[in-house]
């Protein structure tokens, strides 16, 4: 009899602590959302390298919210909390025998610790290090005017900022939402953790979704704003760039940007360090590690923990819908301003610049450049815009890091 009683108590205890009793409806909705995202990542291959860990992090945190719980020490009732002047917000709660305890575990959840790299702004610059190793700034050095297009595509960030302010977001939140228009995942995450960490889940998911949708979002805007004649411009071959120029580039850029805009230094600095690894040719081992192993490890940590910020209670708010709409506007505006400045350059150069390369000014390397190439080839199958579009494309990475620095400084 005693054994049976013990068994019943044990099963009861397990049931009480199981998700069946502790999860609320938002968690179940988010579990559904994460399964849809997993489907999109695996079956449709939308940015699977990021979407898969993000979706799984989302799944985990909604099944077991304590996986993101912060570390603390004791179990306290509300009365005890009040008596000891302990803040109750931000702690996970456990219900035992009908009394709500504020749970202060000695150790935080697994993802809480991995998340510190996001929260403290460590992962995004490390990803930039890897990107720097993989980026060839040659097309940009050969045609420095591309930087204008990289700057133009950032206007969307600031226009969206205005939209967000008028929709009732605070200035810091609006800054973080606007940065989605930079179409640069690590930059968006970096800025959001500094300005509005509570919106991280929604902003990161919006940013990465729109980056995956670049080939769908951009072409209609590109076609709408350009004429057939402009789209069929064949551009001159870029001049060859010497090794010395390529080595000097990262050093010069980091000196200029870090002096004038120190807030952009962590992102631009790591990007340029990675690029110097590559171009110097003397630290091949470091370059290989930064762009392969290190970057992959960071991507796993970043993706999973960013997904884990999207718990039901945080994510299922009206703000998220507003962010997703504003993000789309930011993205479209960035594309449109890039194209419009491309048209201005087309006029000024007497028809030598194909305005289609302007849309590549939103970062999203190298997807946006591929889109320029593809749309150009639809008009003229013998036209190869890819290298010309890579100039504004890598300029967009520098541009959005600069825009991030500006936002961090003035907002």
């Amino acid at each position: 009899m005693e054994i049976l009683q013990g068994f019943a108590d044990a099963v009861g205890g397990i049931l009480e602590s199981s998700g069946l009793l502790t999860l609320n409806w938002q968690n179940y909705v988010m579990i559904g959302v994460s399964i849809v995202l997993l489907y999109l990542a695996i079956k449709k291959q939308y940015e699977p390298l990021l979407l898969l860990p993000i979706a799984f992090g989302m799944l985990l945190v909604n099944l077991y919210p304590q996986i993101m719980a912060a570390p603390s020490t004791e179990l306290l009732t509300e009365a005890q909390c009040a008596a000891q002047n302990v803040a109750t917000s931000g702690h996970a709660t456990t219900v035992i025998n009908g009394i709500t305890y504020y749970e202060n575990p000695t150790y935080g959840g697994l993802l809480y610790y991995l998340y510190q790299g996001v929260k403290l702004g460590i992962y995004p610059p490390l990803i930039f290090l890897g990107i720097g190793c993989m980026t060839d700034f040659g097309p940009l050095i050969a045609n420095p005017k591309s930087l204008i297009l990289g700057a133009a595509a950032q206007i969307g960030i600031f226009v969206t900022f205005t939209g967000a302010i008028f929709l009732g977001f605070t200035a810091t939140e609006a800054g973080a939402i606007g940065i989605i228009g930079g179409a640069d995942g690590p930059t968006a995450i970096y800025v959001t953790t500094k300005l509005a960490p509570h919106l991280l889940g929604s902003i990161a998911i919006a940013a990465y979704s729109y980056m995956a949708l670049v080939p769908i979002i951009q072409p209609p805007i590109m076609k709408l704003l350009t004429t057939k004649k402009e789209r069929s411009v064949v551009m001159e071959q870029l001049r060859p760039v010497s090794k010395l120029e390529k080595i000097m580039f990262p050093v010069i850029v980091v000196i200029i940007i870090a002096i004038f805009l120190p807030d952009a230094a962590p992102l631009v600095g790591m990007l340029m360090l990675g690029n110097l690894f590559k171009e110097s040719g003397v630290v091949e081992r470091l370059a290989k590690t930064a762009q392969n192993e290190l970057m992959n490890i960071i991507t796993i940590f970043l993706g999973t923990t960013v997904g884990a910020t999207a718990s039901g209670q945080n994510f299922l708010t009206f703000d998220t819908i507003k962010i997703i709409v504003l993000g789309l506007i930011a993205f479209c505006m960035g594309t449109a301003f890039g194209i419009l400045f491309g048209k201005i350059m087309y006029k000024f150069t007497g028809g030598k610049v194909n305005p289609l390369i302007g849309s590549a000014g939103v970062s999203a390397v190298p997807m946006a450049a591929r889109v320029s190439q593809k749309v150009g080839q639809q008009e003229n199958p013998g036209n190869f815009l890819l290298m010309h579009a890579m100039g504004p494309n890598v300029a967009g990475v520098i541009g959005s890091a600069v825009a991030a620095g500006v936002l961090l400084n003035i907002v």
Binding site: F158, S242, T317, F318
Partner: protein
Amino acid sequence: MNFSNVTSLARTAELSLAEKGITSAKVVLTGFVVVFAMLILLILIIKLYSFIVVKAQQGGTKKKEKPAAVPLTSESKNVVPAAPVSDDGVSQEVVAVISAAVASMYGSPEKVKIKSIKKSNGGRSAWANAGILDNTRPF
């Protein structure tokens, strides 16, 4: 849900419409000007140093096209399409392709003179390229 409504109400109460307009105009203007100023500064500096580097490299030794390894016959210099005959490991077809590429890079074909073509054994393999492409795609 109710909570978020309350906070957004509180937010709207914080800033009046005029204040919102001023804040956003300030940010848009500053952002626009600073981003363009920084990138235009970079354009000028890149132009300047490329100019110096290119001049310095031209001023030093007249650059050789490529190190001599496979001396070519006078026939292949003129890029005459011919049957793919192997000439010390490099077929004339390949010579024609390389000459065409070089001629298109440098503009007019009259200025270009290819002295030799050599196989290089460095560079990335097709697999390395595929790996890098795979890694760069999401960012």
